[in-house]
Symmetry: C2
Subunit: 362 residues, 2 copies
């Protein structure tokens, strides 16, 4: 059997979790949900599925030291820094080059670093099916999450006919990837049973994804060949990336490949999954008090409901008579934001980053 | 001319300004509005009207040191500590005893420590009229503030006929003190021109207020005589107060005397006045930004209106997409409260005071 690898994409900036998350300490390096950083949980979720030396982590220079410290089991040479962010297609391509360097016949999974999945066994079972499918036929496999509610915050995968059955589990052709729907459409998706949430988790052989990149995004592929040639010629990875990466197209793997390719499949999965993309999403993972308040640390709410209040020190945060607020206190910055405005936190952080007075808080 | 004194009542706890105000650092010791503590401003407002040795400050033991430090011009022996709070009637009685000890024929004004009055000349002019009235006839004079809006947060003085004219200014009989009205009633009061705001500022001779206390609250008066006898017998003030004060009736001067006495007059005044009883009231004294936000210190509001945001250090407080909030950050505690719930801050502070974890924040 050819070698299996897992490549974790850990390059996010996590603006949506400011002020807890910072440029050097984004969401995947924080224990946003659970007792360990999200990335550590992601690595530990692979325990028994692939050996640590078959795990790559693609991050950036600012975060590399922190990634190494929260993932002590992963060999340091497997933690790779992109010199600049070039979106997911470039990261997928880099992963392909790295994995092929280890084993030309390898298969690999691409996983986000910062999602919540508690059902490790269920997750590994689905991953096993996805690898089997990708190794059996030259297809691009995406993991489809069975929706549990008509969520409007996720993209969906519209499945087609069953193409394979592996270990009693169906692998479907993908009819289309669809954008985040409105509530009415999301309800229709949920009722039909033909739509899965797109979790951004992919499995393929290095050969399959190389072929797909070459076909659908030849400019990027040429850059990837330059990286491979550089490594084959004995050059240092960092030096090659420094030279080639900035010139790569900045495009997501979804736009570059998945939405164009004909040979895309999806494996249905039932494990719990949440990308916890915002403070309100975090609250779903904690037991609220009897008035719906999610409280962490030195906090107190009097006469208010459904707030998320977090203090990461012994500094008291007291909320009086307010409902549906996010209040997050850290050593040097405090955020106050209504839950229904959480999507604006990114904009706030951008504004702060543009202001010389507050750049130290990025 | 008999001697004139001013007695400033500086015993408040200022719960409504938590977390900036604390038990040992209440509102009158803070520069809530202006650059100096409110008490300092109150003392300086008397500059040229009475000499500093004729100013008494009645405070409590916890605050006495701080009072001395923010009022360096007032002689230390004039800063008197109540061993326990016994409301304003006891404070008025104590003031009477102290002032009579200096001059049996003296007159005195009782003033709150923490109000905002910018028009010092206008204030002193009215005070002069009030003293003249109180010295001309044995009456209890209260200063009536001409209302500028139909405020529902103040008690009102319903004036009767003109009783005297002094320096061209009318002194009216008081028909009644009335409780805080609803908005409709407040509008009627404003339109009638017969109602003034009750600012809790009184002027009388020591003899007049002694007689009134003896008549309307004889139990309290007996305690005051014990204090006088103790002082006449050469005992230390603190020791006498320690013995007598806890036994005094706890009642306001309004209930104990003003609402019962027949000989109450009011002087109309036009100087600016605000008791700034809450965070929303503070905001009236600062220039808001173009979206109505009152901002002090290291704060930033994005996409929100009419907030009050205060940070007393270089800790950034960022408000994102919220309207009409009070957010106050201090070194060890942060408050978040909708402006229309500001009256509940007192309750919050009481709850915190009852919780061993947070007593250090009182």
């Amino acid at each position: 059997m050819s070698k299996r690898f897992v490549v974790i994409m850990a390059g996010g900036r996590g603006e949506r979790f400011w002020p807890q998350s910072r440029l050097h300490r984004p969401k995947h390096l924080l224990p946003i949900v659970g007792d360990k950083p999200m990335l550590t949980q992601t690595v530990e979720r692979l325990d028994g599925f692939v050996p640590p030396e078959n795990i790559f982590i693609i991050t950036n220079r600012e975060q590399r030291e922190a990634v190494l410290s929260v993932c002590p089991s992963v060999p340091a040479e497997n933690v790779v820094s992109e010199p600049v962010g070039r979106d997911t297609a470039a990261a997928v391509g880099l992963a392909m080059v790295l994995v092929r360097g280890r084993d030309p016949d390898a298969s690999l999974a691409m996983l986000p670093a910062d999602h919540v999945i508690r059902d490790r066994d269920g997750f590994q079972t689905v991953l096993e099916t996805a690898f089997s499918a990708a190794e059996r036929e030259p297809v691009l496999v995406t993991i489809g999450i069975s929706p549990t509610e008509p969520a409007t915050g996720y993209g969906y995968i519209h499945r087609g006919d069953e193409a394979m059955e592996i270990d009693g589990r169906s692998v479907y052709r993908v009819r289309a990837f669809v954008e985040k729907p409105n509530l009415e459409t999301a309800k229709r998706y949920l009722d039909s049973g033909d739509y899965f949430w797109n979790a951004g988790m992919f499995v393929w052989t290095a050969a399959s994804i190389a072929r797909a990149l070459e076909e659908h995004t030849p400019g990027l592929y040429q850059g990837l060949e330059e990286i491979r040639d550089g490594l084959d010629g004995g050059r240092e990875l960092d030096a090659v990336l420094e030279e080639v990466f900035p010139g790569l197209d900045k495009i997501s793997i979804d736009y570059a490949v998945m939405e164009k390719a004909e040979n895309v499949m999806t494996v249905e999965s039932e494990f719990d999954w949440d990308d916890v993309g915002s403070w309100p999403a975090v609250a779903r993972h904690f037991e609220p008090d009897e008035r719906g308040n999610t409280l962490r640390g030195a906090v107190r709410v009097t006469g208010g409901e459904d707030n998320i209040v977090i203090s990461d020190s012994d500094h008291l945060v007291a909320v009086c008579g307010a409902d549906d607020l996010i209040v997050v206190h850290t050593g040097d910055a405090t955020l106050v934001c209504p839950k229904d405005k959480a999507q604006d936190i990114k904009k706030l952080v951008k504004e702060l980053g543009d202001d010389p007075r507050w750049q130290s808080l990025m």
